[in-house]
């Protein structure tokens, strides 16, 4: 954030010097500034257009029955209750499965560098997994769980989400553990604490603000994922919390409804989209606020 123009004489005389070259440089600078300003305006415009569309079209469906009733046939006045509960169940369980694995893998990457090349390999692969197309994760879970079992299930959806959840937690856990000062570890070792106590009670404790942020961001990311759920939990028109049966979820319901020809289904899709976006953005904003408050204070 450097304030470049101030480095010129305050009256701008150096800047206004004549000559063809100076004029050309001045024009290029002006042009680039203009283009950059326009680029920012366009990107912000896209963001606000999305939010505006969601609010204006989705708000109409925000009513009590939407939260109380399950999805129903067009015209029958259904709601989104089963999709909301299904999303919460699958996302929450995926986080429960993914958090310990992700945290331990993050600990492995940051604390077990004596393992040499395999640590580098795990870090590389985890970064790959972080950006692997999510639809491929859906295919993977379909082939190893849905096909052998013979039916779609909420559990398969949960596992697909967990696969997407883990690498995000790995990355933040490792990054945050690296920020723990060396002196703190040494102090704990000097007290005679065994290695695992040092990591769990000292390093993880001081890094927990950052790790919590990572978990929240991961939660936000997987709660909007649609592609991995299409072939795993499939969707369910009825109320179901059974993990061994197909389960509805908000993103898949939005996908099915948005492409339909019925006005009330499209309306429900917009309402679902509004709900999920508000949830995701609120989680993101909260996580960032939490990080600035707790993450840096403890270092």
């Amino acid at each position: 954030m450097m304030s470049a123009p101030q480095s010129h004489p305050a009256d701008g005389s150096g800047w206004r010097r004549g000559g063809v070259q100076a004029t050309r440089r001045r024009l290029v600078e002006r042009l680039v500034s203009l283009l950059c300003n326009m680029a920012t305006v366009v990107v912000l415009f896209a963001l606000f257009s999305i939010l505006w569309t969601l609010v204006t079209r989705g708000a109409a469906g925000l009513s009590l029955p939407t939260f109380m009733h399950s999805t129903a046939a067009p015209g029958a006045g259904g709601g989104l209750a089963n999709a909301i509960i299904g999303s919460c169940e699958q996302t929450g369980l995926a986080a429960l499965i993914g958090t310990p694995i992700g945290m331990f893998a993050g600990i492995y990457l940051s604390e077990f560098s004596q393992d040499g090349r395999i640590v580098t390999l795990v870090r590389f692969v985890s970064d790959m997994l972080l950006s692997v197309p999510s639809i491929l994760v859906g295919l993977f879970i379909y082939l190893i769980i849905v096909e052998p079992a013979g039916h779609f299930s909420g559990m398969a959806g949960t596992l697909a989400l967990a696969v997407l959840f883990i690498p995000i937690v790995v990355r933040t856990t490792e990054d945050m553990l690296r920020l723990v000062p060396r002196a703190m570890r040494e102090a704990a070792y000097a007290l005679g604490a065994p290695g695992w106590r040092v990591i769990l009670s000292v390093c993880l404790r001081s890094a927990r603000g950052g790790i919590m942020t990572g978990i929240l961001l991961a939660l936000a990311r997987i709660s909007g994922e649609t592609a991995p759920l299409l072939f795993t939990s499939l969707g369910n028109l009825n109320w179901s919390t059974n993990l061994n049966a197909p389960m509805a979820s908000l993103p898949v319901t939005i996908y099915q409804y948005a492409g339909s020809a019925y006005d009330d289904w499209v309306q429900m899709a917009w309402t679902g989209a509004l709900l999920i976006t508000v949830a995701v953005l609120a989680t993101n904003i909260f996580a960032r606020w939490w990080l600035t408050r707790n993450g840096t204070a403890q270092q």
């Binding site: 680039v32 999305i50 893998a105 795990v122 997994l129 639809i135 948005a258 989209a273 953005l281 993101n284």
Partner: protein, 325 residues
């Protein structure tokens, strides 16, 4: 931390005991951490093995021709990957053409031009754009961008550019609204924030003294960016662009809504097409277990995995080299 000396003396005697227990605990803890780490390797290897073995039937039935064939005929069981690979590459290419300049413009603005208070707000807004679920982009694209493209943009482009020799052929065709151009545009909006935040991080991390020396010589902001910041951060910027490319290649939901899903290969950017990911999402529910079509879709998945793996590996290497300085 003030109690350190007393704590040490208190533990002086049972130290032996703690140590053996500690080693036991360390062993168990180490094993758990290693298992978690290796589990990640297992998952990645699993994805690769499962997709390739699932697609093996298609690969062996059609041979290398699978990649160059434009067929997609479930009735005669003839499948080829060329159209969807073409669609994937074209939409990603369009996305990059739009996203890179915009991401650069926003990053440049955030780092050099924005008032600090506004910069923080806008930076958060851009990061929030990156957090919006892809299905929302798809819906927004389908209901807002597609009609706009069909009524305004595409007829205008045809009118002005349709007769230009050479590139005119890209802008001809019926203005459906859904098609490769719309898919690419939605992808561009999706990946701009990713590329932008990498660029912002890199531009901020350049040593201030480098920029200050250039400013001290009387260079303008653009000259400093062009001749100091960009050469210095070239590799990390490439890494960020590759990261965005990886996202665009595998994006499913946003594209599925606006691509039009048609198995056609042509020059027109307005024509409906498909990408690997959209084809899988749309056709998978209609393919029965054990069919050749399912195998062909899995083979497409394997191809997508290889393409995005290479892109992401490049991105990782560029970013590591670029930030190691």
């Amino acid at each position: 931390m003030m109690e350190l000396p007393s704590a040490m003396t208190a533990r002086d005697h049972p130290a032996m005991d703690t140590n053996t227990r500690g080693q036991y605990g360390d062993f168990i803890f180490g094993m758990i951490a290693r298992l978690a780490g290796w589990f990640i390797l297992l998952v990645m290897a699993g994805i690769g093995i499962v997709l390739i073995s699932g697609g093996w039937r298609a690969f062996s039935t059609f041979g290398p021709g699978f990649i160059t064939s434009t067929a997609w005929n479930p009735i005669s069981d003839h499948f080829g990957a060329a159209t969807s690979i073409f669609g994937t590459l074209v939409t990603t290419g369009i996305a990059l053409v739009f996203a890179v300049p915009f991401a650069f413009g926003v990053a440049f603005w955030l780092v050099e031009m924005a008032p600090p208070a506004l910069a923080r707000f806008i930076e958060t807004a851009v990061q929030l754009l990156a957090a919006v679920p892809s299905i929302i982009f798809g819906m927004w694209g389908f209901f807002i961008v597609v009609p706009f493209m069909a009524h305004d943009i595409e007829p205008t482009l045809t009118h002005y550019l349709g007769h230009v020799p050479g590139i005119g052929v890209l802008f001809r065709g019926a203005p459906y609204g859904t098609g490769l151009l719309s898919g690419g545009l939605i992808l561009a909006i999706m990946i701009t924030p990713f590329i932008c935040s990498v660029m912002t991080d890199v531009f901020v991390s350049i040593p201030a003294v480098l920029k200050e020396s250039a400013f001290g010589l009387g260079a303008t902001r653009w000259e400093v960016m062009r001749q100091v910041v960009l050469p210095w951060s070239r590799q990390a910027v490439m890494g960020g662009i590759m990261l965005g490319t990886g996202r665009a290649l595998g994006e499913t939901m946003a594209v599925t809504f606006v691509i039009g899903n048609s198995n056609r290969l042509g020059w027109s950017l307005f024509a409906p097409g498909n990408t690997i990911a959209s084809l899988i999402a749309l056709e998978f529910p209609e393919s029965s277990a054990g069919s050749l079509k399912l195998s062909a879709l899995l083979a497409l998945g394997a191809i997508l995995m290889i393409i995005s793996f290479i892109t992401l590996a490049c991105s990782r290497i560029f970013l590591q080299r670029g930030t190691a300085k």
